[in-house]
Each structure stands twice: as C-alpha cells, then as structure tokens.
C-alpha cells in the first residue's frame, strides 16, 4: 500500500481540484488491479467499515511508547493519529515485513481478522511502515480519510481517466463494487462497458436551469408544461419484478434509509420524483424529511411517525421500453398509466400538471407558491412538452422558478460560540421580533459573514453581553439583522408561535435602531400550513 500512502499524503496537502485529479489519475495509471479499485473505494467513502478503533491504536501505542513522552508529543502535534505515526518506535526484535503488503491484502486481512488478530496485524504493519505510511494506515483504518475527494468528484476523475462522460459512470456506479476491475477494463479500452445486470440501474438525471428574466419571453404557454417545484430531495425509484432500489440524485443507493419505498413494486420501471415525508395523511415540510435524512437505518418508531412519500413526475423506463428518447408528453402518458394502476398506494402520488395559459398566469402560480402554498412547495417547474429526457443540464428544456425569499428585520438576542474553525467566535445567533413591547425569539441562524464582519460582530457581542450561561451569551437588545427565509410555519416549540424555514442573515443593520425592527404580527399573513393551504388539494392523488 505504499503507493496509496504517498497518494494520500500528497492529496492531503494539495490545494486545487485540478492538481488533486492529476494525482489520482497518475496513481490509477501506475497501480494494478485490484489495489487501485480499493483505493477508489476508500477515497470515495464506499468502503463502509473501519479496520480498527481509535481505542485499539491507543492500546498498541501504550505498549510501545513511554506515556510521558507520548503526552508531551500529543500536546505538541495536536492530533493522535499523526503523533502515533511519527513516534512509533521500531522494535528490532519484532518481526518486520520487507515492504508493506498491497492495499487489497491489507483490506482482506483486516476484514477477516478477529479482534486479537487485528491488533497483531496492526502492530506488524506499523513496524514495517514509514511515518507517512503509518499515518495513511491509521487514517484508512479508522475510516477518517479527509483529503477532499467526494464520491461525486471521484466519478468525475474516473470519467476523465477513461475519457468517458461522468453520467456514464454515474449510471453504473451503484451496480459495480470494489475493486471495480471491469470498470477499469472498460475505462482503459480493454473490455466492454460493465453490464449492470441486476436490472436496477440508475439513470443519470435531467436537471433544470433557474429562470432568468430574459428566459420569460421564450416561454410560450403552449410549449411548456408546469408543475410545482417540491421542497424535498430528488430521487429515482427503479423497480424490477418485486425488488426495487432508491437512488439519490448522484446515483448513491439510499434504499436502506427508506425501506418502505423499496418493497413490493410489481413490474419494471424507472421513475423520477421527489422524496418527502407524509404525516397523518399530509405531506410534511422539509423539516420532517430532515429527520429521515439523518438516519441511514431508521428505527421502527421513526418509520411509523415519519413515513416516506414519493411524488412521481417522470418515467424513464416502462417494462421493456426505455422512454428517454420520447417527449415529455409521451412519457407523461406512461407515467399516468403506471400511477393509475397503483392509485391505492399511499406511498405514491402523481405530481399534477398546473394550468397555465400565459406568462401572467405563470406569475400567478408562482405567487401562489410564494404566499399560500403548502409548505412542501418552493416554486414552479416548467418543462418543454417536446423535450426528451437528457442526462445533465441541457439548455432550454427544463426551468425552475423558485419563489422569492421572504425577509424580516429582527433583533439579536443570544449568541453562541460556533464550532470548528470558527469556534473562537460567537457565530450562532438567536433573534426575535417585537410583540407588545417584548422580543420573542423566532429563529436561529449561523453567520454567512466574512471574517472581518464576524470579528466586528464578535467584539460587539462581547461588549454588549448582559449575562452568560455556558457557551451562550445574552446580549443587549440593540442590534438588528435582516433575516431572509423561505417560509414561516406555526410552531409550538417557540414562544412566539412561529418558526422560520432556512433562516439566514442577509445583512447586519448597524444603522437601524432596534425599536424599528419588525413586529411579530408581520409573520401572520405569511404562514403556510399544509392543513389549511388551498393548493394542497392540487397535489393529492
């Protein structure tokens, strides 16, 4: 694994994506199978297990290194893996390998080993490695590789390496597994494109462009279909005779997180849609979905309280037929027929087509999304009726027109220290609106400030602290923030009775007196509740 270790080391220090991609491609070109495939998996985060625990590292180092010297060193270096990598003393009496085993061998040995064997093998490798290699081994082994390569970026690199399109890689990614030997054979022109033979392949998505003012004239009502733009996450459901798979927009298999959507689908199909959560028969806001997105394996309780729901809006495969070359309208007919046959299925609903005859009625629709729509709608989508389904972001086919963010002027009430790089700053703020001469909190936001603004704000907070409890400071009610947000909801969690969705601080109003900040009552007409909203019925199947 020495080549992999030097790759990791270089990636760790390298700044630009271009240079990172060059390093990985060079590694792939020089490294034989199956090692390079495992390296790809490790970097892209698809090796989902740890070889050993942090506590195991501590145990083996305690047996080898004077604890006082280790403590002095750990203090100086600031990080345990690196300290162990540097400090690990060779033991001339201990067995040693002439060179480190290949990456695949290391992975095989660790995954087959018992607890006791893990420790023994770890020590053998540490004894046989350089400091740089030990660091890579410890990072790899604890699953803590952070060298700036995301799964998505890795697919791009592989595409460049083989002169392919990234959507081709995405299409087969979920169907292949480490060490990806057939993928490399294809990328190097030595073999055919890997056949994803379980019939549950991901189809790369067609994406939309935001509507620009200048696009409006080219949007003729008769040429386009309109739908709501849902505030969930984009997913693809692929079914084949009883089995099914759910993919995220990048082709990651997320079936395990949404088991209720992947069971018992008859026939063969690939559907494009939006994942949401339905509570007591009503589709809930993004917050509800967030509960599910945080869990890779949901508990039974969560499955019951927050069942997943899929709003379908396109169909790419119907039985033996690939529909992607057909027009939107033709695909829509397939989709409606497919849904009709399953209208009883509470997990599914069909995204309705919205009536729109002119730009004016379009603007109207968008305004409905702005002011009164259910809280899982964030705008409208426009799709050319004659568009085929083209992977990527082709121009002129699909547009999204999100509603404008709303905003209020609120007063800063509490500040809390941030975490990570900004942990020394107060970068986490709670703010409120006036109600009968009193401020009631309506939300909390992190800053999106420049460091300079943050420093100024930080010193303002220190100088205006009224009381302090733990990491939180309560400040004098003097400073006004302009807070933008996507929507308002009723909330029993806040004393004010309201909660903001996606609040963010758009400006600090150093100039504005706190008395002139907004009253709580301005939120009343903006409230969106799925239960009372009129358009909610448009979406029910």
């Amino acid at each position: 694994m020495d080549a992999f270790a030097s790759l990791l080391d270089r990636l760790y220090f390298t700044q630009g994506n271009l240079a990172k991609a060059a390093l990985v491609k060079d590694y792939l070109a020089r490294t034989p199978d199956p090692d390079r495939g495992y390296a790809v998996a490790a970097l892209a985060g698809s090796l989902n297990f740890a070889f050993f625990k942090r506590s195991t590292i501590k145990e083996v180092v305690d047996e080898r290194v004077d604890p006082h010297l280790f403590a002095l060193s750990r203090d100086y270096v600031g990080e345990t893996s690196e300290t162990v990598a540097h400090i690990w003393p060779e033991n001339p009496a201990a067995p040693r390998l002439d060179r480190l085993p290949a990456l695949h061998e290391v992975i095989d040995r660790f995954s087959a080993a018992t607890r006791a064997e893990v420790k023994e093998y770890l020590v053998l490798l540490l004894d046989s490695a350089t400091s740089e290699q030990r660091w890579a081994l410890l990072k790899l082994g604890t699953g803590g590789l952070r060298v700036g390569i995301s799964a998505r970026f890795m697919k791009t690199i592989l595409a460049q390496f083989g002169g392919k399109d990234v959507s081709d890689i995405e299409a087969l990614w979920h169907g292949i597994s480490p060490p990806y030997e057939e993928l490399f054979a294809w990328l190097e022109g030595r073999g055919p494109e890997p056949r994803v033979n379980d019939g549950l392949a991901f189809h790369p998505l067609m994406l939309s462009h935001p509507v620009e003012e200048s696009d409006l004239p080219s949007i003729a009502a008769g040429d386009f279909a309109a739908e709501w733009k849902y505030d969930g996450i984009r997913v693809q459901l692929v079914t084949r005779n009883g089995s099914a798979r759910l993919y995220s927009r990048n082709g990651d298999n997320i079936s395990a997180a949404f088991p209720e959507l992947v069971v018992q689908h008859s026939g063969v199909a690939a559907l494009d849609g939006e994942l949401l959560v339905k509570r007591s028969g009503e589709i809930g806001p993004f917050n509800d979905l967030q509960q599910r997105l945080n869990r890779k394996q949901p508990s039974k309780k969560l499955l019951e309280s927050h069942p997943a729901h899929l709003v379908v809006y396109d169909m790419l495969q119907d039985g033996p037929d690939d529909l992607r070359a057909l027009s939107f309208i033709e695909r829509r007919a397939h989709l409606e027929a497919w849904h009709r046959a399953r209208h009883y299925d509470q997990r599914l609903s069909l995204s309705p087509l919205l009536d729109f005859t002119s730009i004016a009625s379009l603007t109207d629709l968008r305004a409905r999304a702005d002011r009164s729509s259910a809280n899982y709608i964030e705008g409208v989508m426009l799709k050319r009726k004659d568009s085929p389904y083209v992977a990527g972001r082709p121009k002129g086919h699909w547009f999204k027109w999100k509603r404008d963010p709303l905003s209020v002027d609120a007063v800063l009430m509490y500040a809390q220290r941030g975490s990570g790089k900004r942990s020394s700053f107060y970068s986490d703020y709670t703010f409120g609106l006036w109600s009968d001469g009193q401020l009631l909190p309506i939300g909390k936001a992190y800053s999106g400030f420049t460091d300079q603004e943050l420093r100024r704000l930080d010193s303002w907070i220190r100088n205006n602290t009224i009381s302090q409890f733990g990491p939180v400071r309560e400040v004098a009610r003097h400073l006004v923030f302009e807070v933008a947000f996507d929507s308002v909801h009723r909330s029993s969690r806040h004393k004010s009775g309201y909660a903001l969705r996606f609040p963010r601080i758009s400006r600090i109003r150093w100039d504005k007196p706190a008395e002139e900040a907004d009253q709580l009552s301005v939120l009343q007409p903006l409230v969106q509740d799925s239960i009372t909203a009129g358009v909610g019925s448009d979406i029910q199947p």
Binding site: F13, A19, A22, D26, S73, V77, E79, H86, P89
Partner: protein
C-alpha cells in the same frame, strides 16, 4: 581536576568561559567570541575578536561585510589554541559548511559546546565527530520523539516525482539561505537533476561562496534575469519568507514546496500553505540526539535552545545528569 561548571557560566551576553575570558556564540557584542557556525542566531556582527573555522569567517564576511569584527582568528578542525590557561579546539558538527563543536579543556576538565549539529550525511558539511568530555552542551531544536526524519533521498524523490507529474507548474522551494539551500542543490545533482536552479536574489551570494570553496552546485540562474513564464516546470529556490510574499506571485502556476525539519508536523505545513512539504533538517532529530548522548558519553548534559523537557526527561532516564541552560536569543521555531 576542576569541573567545567566552575569556569563556565551563563551571562546576559551568552555562554561564558571565565578560564579563557571568552564567549561561545554570544548574542551581544563582546571582546572575544568563539563562533560555532554562521547562522545568524549564533554568529552576530560587532565582536572584537572572532575565533571560528575559516569557512565560518568567510560566511560571516558574506553576510555582514568584511568589517563584521576587528580581528578574525581562523582555527581548523583538530587545531588547538591557547586561550589563557584554557585550550580551545574544534571538531566538525555536521550542521552546515564550517560548523564546529567548541571543545574547551581546562585544569583536567573538558566541555564540548556542540552548537547546532546533525548526524546524517551532508555533502556540504564535515560529519559530526563525538568527543569524550565531562559536560556535553546540546541543542534541542527537534527534541520530541515525533521528530524523526526520513531519508533525504526519499524526500527529494518526492520533488522529482512531482516535477515529472506537474510539468507546467513552477516548483517554488523554500530553503534557508545558508546551508539548506546548497545542501538541497548538491543532493539534487547527486540524484541526477541537471537543469539550472533558478534562485531568488537573496540566495545568490551564499551560493557563490560555496562555489568559490569548491562545492559544485551546477548552473544557477537568478530569477530576476529570466522571463517568468519560462519558469513553468522548473525548480525555483527562495528563502522561506518569499514563499508567500509578492515576489512569488509573478511565477507561473506555483506549487509551493518547503524543505525544513518543521515540515514533519502537518499542521505547520498546511498553515504555510505548503503543498509539498519536504522533511529535510540540518538539526539532529530525536533518535540522533539520543544516539549522540550515548556516543559522547558525557556524565553531564546541558541543554540549550529548543524543547528541553522531553530531552531532559529521557537523558535522566538514561542515567545522565541533565539540565536546561537558559540562553536567550536563539531561534526555537522556524529558524535556521
């Protein structure tokens, strides 16, 4: 016999030998100074008489101009000089060109002030020689067990590999102007690098001195004399301070490299935005410090600039009497 502690002491000016009335590496101007080597925290201008190796005197001349002291007294390795009743001699320290350990013998006692030293081969410095003594004065720049340097070849091969992979990027290498610069150049020549080295103006004079003294550095071209775009894919050497300043901004598609013992600590390399850290040091690492205590075998060890806690601790464990000498004015971090 008398123990060195009876005729050696720490004064505000630095380490003082009362038997011979002179200082070793004083931080203020004194009448008589013994200088172990040319780095600026050891060799300062303005003394009356300076006793040093001929190379160190030449280096000081280049750095400070010919009037850096009133009288220069060269002393070769192995030569002996009477300093009143005491005797002074030099042994190689392996640190940089001309670096010496000062050996002071008096009344049957002997102390070795090693200055800065390392134990690894360096084509520009005579190898360290262990000299038996009663008191060994050691540096502690890298005195933590995490400082354990890889081989110079392994580090420089990283640079050559990167040059082969990133053919359009100017590899800007941060090196201390005295010692590190010329050592890196000679080692790269030994590994077969034949293209010119492009250098920052601050490195030129010292490289010329090395050439004059017979060290073959190969073709050296001042960066100022060439079209900047032509530096893509070349090695450019500059002092560390120039890595992030304006000077480097005109270079094409820079890949920042730094050769220093401090590069072992990842956070430090990242802090300086170094993309290719090369752990190449002219100081003893942890293993070398301990090996040196054993090779010299002095029952008493005095520890100067650096992280003395770990070294004091391990020296005591190994059975040596160890104490920290608080000398001011020496670089602990980022220095030479």
């Amino acid at each position: 016999m008398s123990h060195p502690k009876e005729w050696m002491s720490v004064r505000p000016e630095g380490l003082y030998c009362s038997a011979g009335d002179f200082y070793v590496d004083p931080v203020r101007a004194v009448a008589r100074a013994v200088i172990t080597h040319g780095h600026s925290d050891h060799a300062r201008p303005g003394h009356g008489e300076v006793i040093a190796t001929a190379e160190t005197l030449a280096i000081m001349g280049v750095r400070y101009g010919s009037g850096f002291c009133d009288r220069r007294t060269p002393l070769d390795y192995g030569g002996v000089m009477d300093m009143g009743p005491a005797k002074l001699s030099f042994a190689p320290a392996g640190h940089i060109l001309g670096s010496a350990q000062a050996i002071i013998a008096h009344d049957g006692g002997r102390i070795v002030v090693s200055g800065d030293y390392k134990r690894r081969p360096d084509p520009t410095a005579r190898a360290f020689e262990a000299v038996a003594c009663d008191v060994f004065v050691t540096e502690a720049t890298f005195a933590l067990p995490v400082f354990r340097q890889p081989s110079v070849d392994a580090e420089l091969i990283k640079l050559l590999t990167s040059l082969a992979l990133f053919k359009d990027r100017c590899h800007l290498v941060g090196v201390y102007s005295l010692g590190k610069c010329q050592r890196v150049m000679m080692e790269l020549r030994r590994l077969g690098y034949v293209k010119p080295f492009f250098v920052h103006g601050a490195l030129i004079k010292m490289c010329e001195l090395y050439e004059t003294l017979g060290y073959r550095l190969g073709e050296i071209v001042p960066v100022a004399s060439v079209e900047k775009a032509s530096l893509a894919g070349e090695i450019v050497l500059a002092p560390p301070s120039a890595l992030s300043d304006r000077w480097s901004r005109n270079l094409p598609n820079v890949l920042t490299v730094m050769a220093s013992g401090w590069m072992q600590i990842r956070a430090r390399a990242r802090q300086r935005m170094v993309e290719l850290p090369l752990v190449i040091s002219d100081h003893a690492d942890w293993d070398e410090l301990i090996a040196t205590l054993k090779d010299v075998g002095a029952p008493e060890v005095w520890i100067t600039h650096g992280r003395e806690d770990a070294l004091t601790y391990i020296a005591a464990k190994l059975g040596y009497r160890a104490r920290a000498l608080s000398l001011l004015g020496f670089e602990e971090e980022d220095g030479e």
